[in-house]
Structure formats: structure tokens, C-alpha cells
């Protein structure tokens, strides 16, 4: 056991959550900030993140292995914190609540920067895996909204989960990234009602 590990344990006893949790939070935060500045394909290195977070690069490497694992962990952790899956008891209200959370997320400087970075970069092999895993994890987290709606007979049993989530999430990103118009009062509700009942309905 090294002297540092002993210190870590001592501090972990003193402070609930502990040094390990704090270091992890610092490293993930440094990763997001670097990602927002560089874009995910922009040559982000473990040593730059280590410098920003004030920890040793070797500690990061021991814990996450590669930059791409670290990026994935940072994006997923951040989105889970910012975008908890609503459970209101109805599909409409769940969709409205999730859309509001995503709109607020995309309206923050970090949310904007991350979405721009994900949209902008040319695919490099290191990122390609993280991107697919990120969206898969987001779908896995939010598919319970669709599962619960099926259980309540609000949606057919053979509903395409991904289609529901994409139709809800895509217009919010389209506005934030491409049109750059704010989502005006009442628009989320009108959008959700159109999705649920159909434009021709």
C-alpha cells in the first residue's frame, strides 16, 4: 500500500463520499470542459485532462484506461445527472417533462458546447465507439418511459422505442443546433400532442 492510498483511505473516512469520489468528479468535469473547448475529435489527451483536474495522468490511466472510456463516462454521468428519467404516471407528461429537461440542458453553455462538439467533428475511430455507446445508453435509460406507457395501454405493445424517443428528442436538438431559435412557451406541449395524436389526427 502506498502512502497516497493510505491518505486516500484516511480522507475517505473523514469525508463521506471521500477523496476518490471527489477526484472522479473533478476528472469528469475537466473532461467535459476540455471536450467543450476542443470538440471530441480535437486531440484531447489524458495529460491535458490531468492538468486541468490537478491529478496525475497515471491515476486517470489506471482508472479509465483510455481517453475514449473517460469521454464516455463523462458524457453519460453528466447526462444522467442533468436528465433524470421522468416518471409522472402518464406518457404525455413524461414526454413533456423529458423534453423540458433536454431543452434546459441544451440551453446551458456546457450543454450547447457538448452538442455542438458531437455534431461538428469528423468521426475518428476513438470517438465512433463512444458515440454509439452514448446514444445506446441514453436510449436504454429513457426506454422505460415507453415500457411504462405500453404497460398502461397508452402505446401498442410493438411500439418502436427508438422511433418514439428520436421523434421527441430530435426537434429540440434541431432548434438548438441548426435553427438556433428558442423553444417558445407552449411549443413542447404542442409538439408532444402532435406526436401522440398525429398531424392528421
Amino acid at each position: 500500500m502506498t502512502r497516497n492510498e493510505t491518505n486516500d483511505q484516511a480522507e475517505a473516512v473523514r469525508r463521506p463520499g471521500g477523496r476518490s469520489a471527489r477526484v472522479r468528479a473533478d476528472v469528469l468535469r475537466a473532461t467535459l470542459e476540455a471536450l467543450a473547448e476542443h470538440g471530441p475529435g480535437g486531440g484531447l489527451t489524458l495529460s491535458e485532462i490531468a492538468r486541468r483536474a490537478g491529478v496525475h495522468a497515471t491515476s486517470i490511466q489506471r482508472r479509465w484506461g483510455t481517453v475514449q472510456n473517460l469521454i464516455l463516462d463523462a458524457l453519460l454521468t453528466y447526462s444522467q445527472e442533468q436528465l433524470p428519467v421522468p416518471d409522472t404516471g402518464s406518457l404525455r407528461d413524461d414526454m413533456v417533462a423529458l423534453a423540458r429537461l433536454i431543452t434546459a440542458y441544451l440551453d446551458t453553455p456546457l450543454g450547447t458546447a457538448l452538442a455542438q462538439a458531437m455534431a461538428a467533428v469528423d468521426e475518428d475511430p476513438a470517438l465512433a465507439g463512444s458515440r454509439a455507446q452514448f446514444w445506446q445508453a441514453r436510449y436504454d435509460a429513457t426506454r422505460t418511459i415507453v415500457d411504462r406507457a405500453i404497460a398502461r395501454d397508452e402505446l401498442a405493445a410493438d411500439t418502436d422505442h427508438q422511433l418514439v424517443l428520436e421523434l421527441l428528442v430530435a426537434p429540440l436538438h434541431f432548434r438548438a443546433l441548426l435553427i438556433r431559435q428558442p423553444v417558445e412557451e407552449g411549443r413542447i406541449e404542442r409538439m408532444v400532442d402532435a406526436l401522440l395524436h398525429g398531424l392528421a389526427g
Copy 2:
């Protein structure tokens, strides 16, 4: 009248379409290529476009005035060429046809690069006006799809044109820019049917 203008007119007589139309096409093409390389906020100048197009910067300035006018003209002209508004006789088929055109457009290197550039850049004042005008012009061009559907009683008279078009167009851009998954066979039809008849329908 200068010697060059005399030559222009002589050439315009010799070749239908003429030198003026050819210069315009060359300048717009050079603008798109530069835009795709730089991103629209990336310090695009009239002199760089002039060099790429092989014309004098003063000719560009006389014709378009500013870089932002030129960018707007280039993007609108290109999208009008690539995305003619379908008129099939039914709303469903118009929506499917437009979605196919947009998917194919976003799948070209130039289409990808332009969408990435529009998504990526921080807003500069020069671009902000062009962006709003670009999307307004695209909505104006495609709203006839909704108008004709209202006339055929396929949509209610108070249908929100922009909502219809955004719900159709956004998932295609979301896939191309953020998820980077190809649009698989049959997905456009399933998406259009969900939009028309509702997820809960």
C-alpha cells in the same frame, strides 16, 4: 462601358446562359466549398472566395455586397437545386419524398459538411442573419406541401406549418449529425406514418 463588360456581353450572346451565369455558379460553388472547409464563422473572406473561383474580389463585392449575402445565396441556391419541393398528390408521399431528398443530401460530403458547419459554429453577427433567412426561406419553399394538404382536407386548416416541417426534417438531421446512423430501409415511411397518425394512434 468597360472593355470587360463588352466582352461579357459578347460571350453571353455566343453561349446561352452566358458568362454571367457561369461566374455566378463558380462563385457560389467556391463559397460552399470554402464554407464546408472553414465553417461559416471561420473567417471566410471575399478575397479567398474570389481566389477559389478565379474571379476578381471587386466583381463579387459589386454583385453580392457582403460575405453574408453571398453565403445566404450559396446555401439557398444549393438547397433549392438539391431539394426541389415534391408534389406527388398526397401528403404522405410528399413527406416521404422530401425526407428521402434530405437524407440523400445529408449523405453527400458537401451536405454533411454544410450541416456540420451550421451546427458547429458559435454565432457571429454576420451569420446570425443568414441563418434565420436561410431557414425562413426553406420553410417558405416547403410550406406548399402543407398548404396543398390543407386544400385536400388531409390536414386541419389551422395546422402549424413550421411544426409539421420541423418534425419531419429534425430526425433526419439528428441521425446525420449526432447519432451518425444511416437511415435504414423503411424507416422514413415508418416515421412519416407515426407523424401523420400519432404514436398513440
